[in-house]
Amino acid sequence: MTRLPAPYGSRINRAKPVRFSFENKPFEGFEGDVIASALAAGGQWMLSRSFKYHRPRGLMSMAGAEADTLVQLPSDPNAQADLTPVTEGLKVTAQNVNGSLENDRDAFMDKLGRFMPVGFYYRTFMGPARSSWLKLWEPLIRKKAGLGVIDLKAPHQDYEKANLYCDVLVVGGGHAGLAAAIEAAQGGADVILAEMEPELGGALTYRRGSDAMLHDLLYQARKLPNLRLMTGTTVNGWFEDNWLPLIQGRKLFKTRAQEVILATGCIEQPAIFRNNDLPGVMLGSAAQRLMRHYAVKPGSRAAMMAANPDGYRVALDLLEAGVEIALLADPRPGGSGGGLADDLRAKGVRIVQGQFEEARGKSHVSEVKIAGEWVPCDLAVVSVGYAPMWQLPCHAGAKLGYDEDTAQFSLTLPDAPIGAAGGVAGLFGAEAVAASAQSAAQTALARLGKDTRDIAPVPDSEASLANFELPVNANPKGKDFIDRDEDLQVKDLQNAVKEGYSELELVKRFSTVGMGPSQGRHSALATARTVAKATSRKVAEVGVTTARPPFAPETLGVLSGHHHPAERRSALHQEHIRLGADMRPVGAWRRPYFYGPKTDAKRLIEEEVHAVRNGVGVLDVSTLGGLEVRGPDAGEFLNRIYTMAYKKQPVGRCRYCLMTNEMGTVIDDGVAYRLAEDLYYVTATTGAVARVYSDMLFWNAQWRLDVDVLNVTAAFSGFNITGPKARAIVEALESDIDFSRDGFAYLDGREGTVAGVPVRAMRIGFTGELSYELHCPSTYAKTLWDAVMQAGVTHGLRPYGLEASRILRLEKGHILIGQDTDALTSPDELGFGWAVSKTKPFFVGKRAIEMRRNKGLPRKLVGLTFDGPDVPGESCLVLKDDIPVGHVTSVLWSPTLNTHIALAYVHGDDAAEGTPVTVKCRNGARVTAPVRGHAFFDPDNKRQEL
């Protein structure tokens, strides 16, 4: 088919042909074409088969208002053919087709419609078994419904995100949007105008006689430096305090606007009659878009239904483009097209009172029935009214009403810095639209504190004419579609009401009306009218279903942007890598898991354990949380935060810290080293330090003690030198600290320098061996590490990783908060009564611990060993009389003891050493093991005090 001559085809570049294929047939369009326009130009009107009945479908709106235009692209499913540009070599295929689009093997579904009433799926696909829906029916139906295929091999693409700020955001670049943006920018505001379509102008780009006005608006808009025009940009939602996502291609602009002016316009609404879904039946605006934007002649002989002046203008446009008008039906009783009708009559067009009663044709419309007369045609155009684009206003809290006189939805905006102008505000005449836009801009300028001018309101010459409520009567033979996405006919909604679902939200859930890809764009108005009539209510009382973001489909890539998993590195990161460490994520940190090749993991880990038990090892503990608590009230503060007593802790001594929350649950532990009367250096677990720090600040925001807390986690690095030979190494270091047995006792802390590095040294450890933990400012860590490694050469000092550390601590029965504790663990359940002060008047959790103690001990953490072949895993259940009473929290092979060792919660009555308890393994086997004390190795803790 040849295209119409210029100036038709404002969006296409005839000098640049584009070749593509649809259903493996070659087509040619032009640069600027969308898939649907290029196909229409090539005579291909059918684009898809419908969702349920597999009826042939084509374009209706040319504005993305129906799912019928969804097609499959190689790397994108569900592309809207009426919005997606054609590109060279693009392979387009139809979706929801069994076989081919022309010969769909499932087309027989259309004949079965009466067996598939509304609610059919819910009632039918229940059995035979409980899981049948998930296992059998859902996959089958999903395949039948065929909504595109995802290409898992799609190439990587970059998606970007940016923040954007403006005084005024105008949504929509039609007449109202342009006029509002110009007015606001002229008033001195920083303005952004976002338009979905590739060009500005909205309806002015295709509506009859709009060229001069569009030209003038664009000229004014483009010369304003403080007006940023963004085309191809969808404003996909409204969020609190005027925060709106603007999506332009693969970039998301998170936009904060002081003021928002919604000029989202209207969307033309279809008429309801039998076979209103046939390809060739389209909206007046779709016919205009095809002609003006793409120079595509929508047909050769048209039947026209016009209930508003726009419809008459479309008829004039069609005539001018060489389309014969077989008949124009105006359904309005006593209605007249005024001067426009005279023009048409003068050109020989027959105008009758009536409406489209039925259409027919095999896969394209061939006849339309008007007032009982069958009119042959290959195009049936409908212009009966509009719905305002209610989605964004409703996201922002606008209330939707319905004006029975003008037969249109109306919007009432919330009390917020949001305005509306033009079609979305119910205005149609050009002068009224411009005035509403200028007025909205002035209101925004006034709230922004800018100088303003008065805008006189202009009565709308067309408001009462634009919409006509065509009576909706179910055709006895059906196929009169209200919702084309979901294949819902008038009777389906009437039946939903008869079933008792009279509220719109229930009608929606029962029938699925409005739940398809177009989200009610073409169905909400007819649904409201149909349900209103069926329930004898006003349309305003029925309304529309809740509109929520997103407005249009958005890709996961746009939401995700670049992926940035957090990564923190200790100062010794490169040193560990140089030593061959297997670095693994621990929260945001990367830590050595063990040192050496991965293939040898088990042997290397055991060697690391043996090195600590028999010689000496060193562990990087830099990721441990570090907090400085300082000030005259520091001791009092720690007394309130932790369960032990700190006020009388001597300077130069370390003390265990156990933290509970107000419910008496253990939430963290560490060590407090008192450096001075008013300074404690406190450690916290790696994963919890951020929370411990903010909790400390929160408590003191209430207590107002004279204390300051600082998180020095990254500022200090530390390594623990541990094993029977540890002292030999630290004594070999150049230092002013006395590391001797008598000079530096267990749980002592010392400050000094080591190898010229300022150091905080503590005799603490997690392994149960003689241990010295050296902490220093992180920029000195490498120097200190090198000195320690140098001193360790003759003693076989071996760095060890996290896995060996976990084994060493478990051999000593030391708990890991979060691993061996859960949201209910009390100190008593851990056997930590010794760590809970009985004399302090208060600490966080004290009262709850006491109350829980009075209730008895429901469970207790104990040690278990497993020598046999069946070994339970972590989280395996502990049973008592075959009822679960606890679970295994840690279990590992001990290379020191040559057995599996575990910590587990057992029933409170079974906690005594020697009591046999039963654990259910993953394989179902039940194993019995006697309760052991926490410490499997060196139960008297002699080694750490060597």
Partner: protein, 181 residues
């Protein structure tokens, strides 16, 4: 003998710092003396510093809270003077150890800042001498306008996240690299 993350053998060794549409420079060796807690402001005033309002800078002194400040490029003896002073004098806050310090500049500076920081740092919206404590490059950070020949921003953030930050900035700037290419 002190080693910062981007130094050879430092934790972020080998992490490239971008140049071009946006340039990232490591200033982590800049001396910075931080105090926090009761007495901070009175000590600094006693040393002759003008202490500005919270979240403002005056003469290299960043006021970060009612009783929190950092002095950049401080005289070497400031620490000694602090050690010798009588309490209340604030508490030492290890800012040369807790924070990395970096500087951003380049022709696409403002486009980049709009991508990596939620606060509007554009000319006219964010003045010289203001401080924003916010997120930059997905980490908690302190940033301020720091022009050196052309517009620039300095950023203080978690020193352990040095490599992460530099990589995040490079990824965000990739868009402008591709534009210029």
């Amino acid at each position: 003998m002190r080693l910062y993350p981007l130094d050879p053998q430092g934790a972020a060794e080998g992490t490239p710092l971008i140049t071009g549409p946006v340039s990232l420079r490591d200033d982590s060796r800049t001396p910075r003396f931080g105090l926090k807690g009761r007495g901070t402001v009175s000590f600094l005033q006693a040393q002759g510093y003008e202490v500005p309002e919270v979240n403002r800078i005056a003469n290299g002194l960043l006021r970060l809270g009612r009783e929190e400040a950092v002095v950049l490029n401080h005289p070497e003896d400031l620490r000694t003077r602090w050690d010798a002073a009588a309490a209340p004098k604030g508490y030492y806050s290890w800012r040369e150890e807790t924070w990395a310090m970096m500087h951003l500049s380049g022709p696409h500076l403002f486009d980049l800042m709009a991508k990596i920081c939620p606060v509007n740092l554009a000319n006219g919206a964010f003045a010289q001498g203001e401080i924003a404590q916010t997120r930059v490059g997905y980490v908690e950070a302190i940033t301020w306008r720091d022009d050196r020949g052309g517009p620039g921003f300095s950023v203080l953030f978690d020193i352990a996240a040095t490599a992460f930050f530099a990589n995040a900035v490079a990824t965000a700037a990739g868009e402008f690299e591709r534009e210029t290419a």
